[in-house]
Subunit: 165 residues, 2 copies
């Protein structure tokens, strides 16, 4: 990642290509860097913590959300994780096969499926999450505490806007 060209060069080229038309460069920079950062961070986590536990990114997110909120309905996992329910079905199958979690029909509503971690899954996350969190600290170590809080809040605003429109 980390494009070979600087942002300034990119802006110069874009304004050259669109002479006359008005472009919002500040917004362009936010969006471009948002995707770069997410992609680079995901690659970093996959290469480091996740690979040694043989977990894909999505599998980790599923375990994380379940670990925090179990018992949890599958639709909630999909919503929190940001992927489709079709994708989730496959990942749940894999993780269930590895005995890291269980699926169980809800008694109150026969349409729902409840997901829980197994003892083995819980043991994994007790070890894995602190490890993952250390890498989160590393990756964001270029920012101080108040900056982190600002960024998190700003990203949350973007998420809310984009999800609702």
């Amino acid at each position: 990642m980390a494009g070979a060209h600087t942002l300034a060069e990119t802006e110069r080229q874009v304004s050259e290509l669109l002479k006359g038309k008005t472009i919002d460069f500040d917004s362009m920079a936010v969006v471009a860097n948002l995707f770069r950062a997410a992609s680079a961070a995901r690659n970093h986590f996959e290469r480091t913590v996740l690979l040694q536990h043989d977990l894909s990114w999505t599998a980790f997110v599923v375990l994380w959300v379940t670990w925090i909120w179990e018992p949890i309905e599958t639709r909630q996992i999909a919503e929190e994780g940001g992927f489709s329910k079709a994708t989730l079905t496959g990942v749940l199958g894999t993780l269930e096969g590895r005995k890291l979690l269980t699926r169980e029909k809800s008694k109150e509503d026969g349409r729902l499926v409840l997901v829980k971690l197994t003892a083995s899954g819980r043991k994994l996350m007790d070890k894995l999450f602190p490890e993952f969190n250390r890498h989160e600290s590393e990756v964001t170590s270029v920012l101080n505490k108040s900056k982190k809080q600002e960024i998190a809040e700003a990203l949350r605003l973007i998420t809310n806007y984009a999800a609702e429109n």
Copy 2:
């Protein structure tokens, strides 16, 4: 997207699960919201601007990078876009089939392939990018100008760190 639980609830649960162990919540919030925002924004762009032009996210990125830097080597497209060269080969095939760009062997170095937009591809981007940029403005409209610049810079720092480690 936009998880059903608030950040505060998540933090409370995590600290309950990991009693005694120290967790860096500020960094956790940055990373969690980074992925939420990227996913929500990408979905938003795909639903709105990209769908009506029958372009996938990756296809759009390829066109965008090529539009700005043509003629450009394929390895540069992959680097700027953040995907593998194998992925790029497929997307280039699709876009070449739709006559939006061309591939051409380099004369200086027989291993390289140079990519250019066709007149039709250039016409598309002249129209599409301003449209896309209006949506970038919208999605980030919750931030003022100086905030946008801060966020962009912070994300760039994260990208650089993650890409190098």
